[in-house]
């Protein structure tokens, strides 16, 4: 099949299903049928996108772009809409569709307790979500990317708020939407600035060359774009929505945290990388913010007792890695980690979902000893954790290594890179610690109070975990092929390549795992672990959340009341004043309309006298001139 056909299938199969389910209400309300259609659409997307990726691996010479005018301007085309298939978009299409497919299959069983209507609605939004993300990935310009970007935000809002009867879910959905929408203003204004400056929304070499010649403009554009990335990819201090987004069903978190919502931000940097490269100052800032996010979120993750929140903060932290690497100039490192992370984080979240499904609780203290009850889940969660911690041979090891190397190289160019480098290095150890803590607390030790009746889920829940296990384990081995797709001749990738930085990271990772064992599995460590919990709790719902809440209350709520009061009682009040004043004046003037002839004669007399005096006075003044 031709590239265009495959790309169209990959993007539009989920859309057609979503539109069908939205319009044909009986089909949606049928529940099972809706789910089957949705999974079928996702499967078609997987098939097409994998075929595209294979075709790209075979021949990656020219990007294929199909586009048509979307917005006309005086008969010309101001903006196009279309598909760009190249070495960057094809693998991302595959990653997104595979993860989405696994999540949907997992949901078939996980969400089975919902009534048919909600079940159908759930899968409708999933299909729409997959389409939005695919449309974002294939976007040939930043405007289409922005449109899909907003739709991704919308789908997140709908799915985080899936349990719309729960006030906390409603709050979380709104928080996610508002925080990201605030950041999206950056993207909107940025792309307007770009268009006004160079006349296109593209990221091709020609556009970037024109932009680069404009002094401060590329810096402004890149900074504005990065603001949106900070919102979407949950970078400090705009990460506040991500932990709350746990209010959605757990498979939604798997999708959100792995391949769709938060991945969109990092993908924007990858896609528009030439524009960022034209703004070196922004790149440095990006790297620093990424590093700060990585270590901050990792520290917060230590103290969490909710299994999903640990994973949420870990996503935040890993996104920090990617951003830091991209900021340090390593397109390959950042993008590679986005891919490997997508698989193992999706697997971790789905494993967590499997656990939550079994013990009916998110709380780590309710779990414990699950390895005796749930062998498959123990395997997938442990391997996922090891991949996240950077265990040698697993996918996360290779991509993380790339990131640390690039940051280390960065320190030679600019001392500012010491911040992200040290932060990310420290994060390796912290990550290994908090993940091993979760593994030990949930799966080992003595059986927890909710764990007695726990059992493994059915085939629909196990199969996606096993599918995701494959890339988690061997994904790193394909780094070379991936690098080939990106067409970066100056970058090298070796599977066996020992560097000082890599050794230090490895030591830290093993140290973290060992510390996790000592603190959580030995009596001596228990006291220490509980002693540090308040510190982490303080950091978590600390100043950052309070700052945004305060801004919301002050700038939105309080200020709006001032506006409304002014509108009602001053602006409209003046109008009322004029109206009532006219009425009053009318009443007052009416008194002169007495109807008595004598009154009128008095007034006429008064007038005659007045006029006479005036004429005399005027003659006097005129005569003296």
């Amino acid at each position: 099949m031709r590239t265009l056909d495959l790309a169209l299938i990959s993007v539009f199969a989920p859309l057609i299903i979503a539109v069908l389910l939205i319009i044909v209400a009986p089909l949606r309300r049928a529940g099972r049928a809706a789910a089957a259609l949705s999974v079928g659409g996702a499967f078609a997307s997987v098939f097409a996108s994998v075929a595209l990726t294979l075709a790209r691996l075979a021949d990656n010479r020219v990007p294929e772009i199909f586009e048509t005018t979307w917005l006309p301007e005086a008969g010309k085309s101001a903006a196009t809409i279309g598909l760009q298939i190249d070495g960057i978009s094809a693998p991302m299409l595959a990653v997104v569709s595979i993860v989405a497919f696994c999540v949907q299959v997992f949901s078939l069983e996980y969400m089975a307790d919902e009534n048919d209507e909600d079940y159908g609605r759930y899968f409708t939004w999933h299909s729409l979500f997959l389409f939005s993300m695919q449309a974002l990935v294939v976007a040939p310009n930043i405007l289409q990317l922005f449109c899909a970007w907003e739709l991704v935000g919308l789908c997140s809002y709908l799915l985080i708020g899936f349990y719309y009867k729960k006030p906390s879910a409603a709050r979380a959905a709104l928080k996610a939407f508002w925080v990201t929408k605030f950041a999206d203003l950056g993207l909107l204004i940025g792309l307007i600035v770009q268009y006004a400056a160079v006349g296109t929304f593209g990221w091709d070499a020609e556009t970037v060359a024109k932009l680069g010649a404009l002094g401060v403009v590329p810096v402004a554009v890149a900074a504005l774009y990065f603001l949106a990335v900070m919102g979407k990819s949950a970078q400090f201090p705009l990460h506040v929505w991500l932990p709350d987004a746990m209010e959605g069903p757990t498979p939604v978190s798997a999708l959100l945290h792995a391949a769709t919502m938060v991945a969109a931000g990092v993908y924007l940097i990858v896609r528009a990388y030439p524009i960022f490269q034209a703004a070196p100052q922004v790149m440095v800032a990006m790297s620093v913010i990424g590093g700060v996010t990585a270590v901050f979120a990792a520290i917060v993750a230590i103290g969490q007792n909710d299994i999903k929140r640990v994973l949420a903060y870990s996503t935040c932290s890993q996104l920090g890695y990617m951003v830091a690497a991209l900021g340090a100039g390593s397109l390959f490192g950042g993008y590679f980690h986005l891919g490997t992370h997508a698989f193992f984080k999706a697997m971790l979240f789905l494993s967590a979902g499997s656990v939550i499904h079994a013990v009916h609780s998110n709380d780590l203290s309710h779990m414990g000893g699950l390895s005796k009850k749930m062998k498959w889940t123990t395997l997938t969660f442990s391997v996922g954790s090891l991949a996240l911690a950077g265990f040698p041979g697993l996918s996360g090891f290779f991509s993380k290594d790339q990131i640390l190397e690039s940051l280390w190289e960065g320190t030679h160019r600019d001392p500012l890179f010491w911040i992200p480098f040290l932060a990310c290095l420290a994060t390796v150890g912290i990550t290994a610690y908090y993940m091993s803590r979760v593994v030990f607390l949930a799966f080992f030790g003595k059986l927890g109070e909710h764990a007695h009746h726990a059992h493994e889920g059915g085939i629909a829940m196990r199969l996606p975990l096993l599918i995701l296990l494959v890339p988690t384990v061997i994904g790193g081995l394909f780094g070379g092929q991936f690098l080939g797709l990106l067409a970066l001749p100056e970058v090298e990738f070796h599977l066996t390549h020992v560097t000082p930085v890599g050794v230090v990271a490895l030591v830290l990772a093993f140290g973290g795992i060992g510390l996790g064992y000592v603190l959580n599995m030995t009596p001596a460590g228990a006291g220490l672990a509980s002693a540090t919990a308040p510190v982490a709790a303080f950091i978590e719902y600390g100043a950052v959340d309070r700052f945004w809440l305060g801004a919301y209350n002050l700038l939105m709520m309080a200020l709006s009341r001032v506006f409304a009061w002014l509108d009602r009682y001053v602006v409209d009040g003046m109008l009322n004043g004029i109206g009532a004043g006219a009425l009053t004046a009318g009443e007052w003037l009416r008194r002169f309309q007495t109807g008595r002839a004598t009154d009128y004669v008095y007034v006429v007399m008064l007038g005659v006298v007045g006029l006479t005096i005036w004429s005399q006075f005027a003659a006097l003044v005129g005569g003296s001139r």
């Binding site: 719309y164 939407f177 709006s560 506006f563 009061w565 509108d567 009682y569 009322n576 004043g581």
Partner: protein
């Protein structure tokens, strides 16, 4: 002679109203059938016109009809349509159809109601195609005046507390009542009309005793005269478009008005004002437009932010939507003030997008109010459980309102902000964007407070979802929002044929305007 399609579109509603005059009060079904049929006839006519204008090529006027009315004064019945007019005919057609269908549930004097409503619609159609200033003004008044009766008779009343520096005036005027709202609306709009009339006569006098807009466009009025005439048109028409600080009739008027009237008023009538500023003010007075562009744009930005912030503090459902109209009409005026292709395209597109979106909003609000007899949001909650379809369409309207891509609202706002950045005053785009953000906060908060949450309160547990007529109306409007949002060229190709022509003429007159 070709079929007078434009007169047909204008006449259908009026003809229906005329027939209804001779029907007995009891013939409610007949009245409803006639009204809906007439609206369908006009809508089909509008769709045909849109197709033909697209097919017949760019930028010129089509379907011209010209009859002398008062030859001694140069007054002619002159109608013709270009890309701008055609797109607004389509808007009016769609909303009239949706409004006529939605009003079939009205039980209180439907005959009189439809007579006024359809008379108003004829006036609206007339304004969008009139090419003679006098006839333009005539249609304009026909469209505006029935509102007084429609609100005064079929409206609903709320209560507003008197306080602040003008409490004495508020006590006197019974603020919040439907008679008050109807009176305020009519007086403000008539005040605007007086200004328009004065400016119109000024142009007539200076332009060689003609009202023909094609002729007037060729006249070079002295910049000094234009400096005086333009603000009269801007404020005069602007009053109907919700121009700050003359917008306060809008929240009270829309809150008091019955469903279909709010739909038409916010959906179409406010566009008459904006269309007047653009088509009469800016196109006929190019120097005036350039002299005043900064003021027009800056006040428009105030409109956007002021309307959005005021909407945020409201607890009355209708007031939220009404204030949001004030904010969104600011986007139209901002687009007009940019004097750029994108800005003007965006302004025209926003008229369409906001028209459909706000009509959808008001039909939903009317639907809720009809069932709850309550507009106070804190009394509501959890409605999604009993009225899921209503919740879904309300969310869709919110999304268009906050500029979600995939809905018409995004295309419009994006083009306007793009035009704003390309204009002489780039900073306009920033408060514009902030207005969109504030909108995201208040519409979604409203949605949550009304529809989300655990089941509705006890007294609203019996609520029913939209009925058949209401569904027709909702689907018509909702589909339009999405279709034109996904594929804006359906409309933009039409608008974009006219915009460069007008803009080129405007730029030929003065220097210092960015293309």
């Amino acid at each position: 002679m070709a079929f007078p399609i434009l007169s047909f579109i204008i006449a259908m509603p009026a003809l229906a109203a005329l027939i209804m005059l001779f029907l007995p009060d009891e013939a409610k079904t007949a009245v409803r059938t006639i009204a809906v049929s007439a609206s369908i006839a006009s809508l089909l006519g509008a769709i045909w016109v849109v197709r033909e204008v697209l097919a017949r090529g760019p930028a010129t006027f089509h379907f011209e009809e010209r009859y002398n009315l008062v030859p001694s004064l140069g007054i002619q019945y002159l109608v013709a349509v270009d890309g701008w007019g055609a797109s607004l005919l389509l808007l009016t057609g769609i909303i009239t159809f949706a409004g006529a269908v939605a009003s079939t549930t009205l039980e209180n004097r439907p005959r009189e109601f439809y007579i006024f409503l359809l008379g108003l619609v004829s006036g609206v159609f007339g304004v969008f195609v009139a090419q003679d200033l006098f006839v333009f003004f005539l249609f304009y008044e026909i469209a505006v005046l029935p509102m007084y009766l429609l609100i005064g008779i079929w409206g609903s009343t709320g209560k507003v507390k008197s306080e602040g520096p003008f409490a004495w005036a508020m006590d006197r005027l019974d603020v919040g009542g439907k008679e008050y709202a109807a009176m305020k609306l009519t007086l403000v709009l008539l005040g605007g009309s007086a200004l328009i009339l004065a400016a119109m006569l000024g142009m007539y006098q200076a332009g060689g005793h003609t009202f023909d807009m094609g002729q007037l466009a060729k006249v070079s009025f002295s910049p000094r005269l234009q400096w005086w005439l333009f603000p009269a048109l801007w404020v005069g028409f602007g009053a109907l478009a919700g121009l700050f600080p003359f917008h306060t009739w809008s929240p009270d008027g829309h809150a008091a008005a019955p469903t279909a009237v709010s739909m038409l008023h916010a959906g179409v009538l406010m566009k008459l004002g904006a269309f007047g500023v653009l088509r009469v003010g800016m196109v006929l007075l190019p120097d005036g437009a350039q002299q005043w562009a900064f003021a027009v744009g800056t006040i428009a930005v105030i409109n956007i932010v002021w309307g959005a912030m005021s909407a945020m503090a409201q607890k009355d459902l209708k007031y939220i939507i009404a204030y949001s109209s004030v904010s969104h009409m600011g986007v139209v005026l901002l687009g007009a003030a940019t004097l750029t292709v994108n800005g003007w395209n965006g302004a025209m597109f926003q008229m369409f997008a906001h028209g459909i979106m706000t009509a959808l909003f008001f039909s939903l609000v009317g639907l809720i109010y009809e069932r709850t007899h309550d507009r106070w949001i804190p009394n509501m909650g959890g409605f999604a459980k009993v009225m899921p379809l209503t919740a879904a369409f309300f969310t869709l309207a919110c999304l268009s309102s906050l500029g979600m891509p995939g809905t018409a609202g995004f295309v419009a706002e994006f083009l306007v902000f793009l035009g704003a950045w390309q204009s002489a005053n780039s900073w306009w785009a920033v408060p514009g964007g902030i207005g969109a953000l504030v909108t995201a906060v208040y519409v979604l908060r409203g949605t949550r407070d009304i529809f989300w949450g655990e089941g509705p309160p006890e007294k609203f547990a019996h609520l029913t979802d939209a009925g058949f007529a209401e569904r027709v109306s909702l689907w018509t409007l909702g589909t339009t929002l999405v279709v034109f949002g996904v594929w804006p060229r359906l409309l933009l190709d039409l608008i974009d044929t006219a915009t460069p022509v007008y803009l080129a003429a405007l730029q030929a007159h003065g220097a210092g305007v960015t293309p």
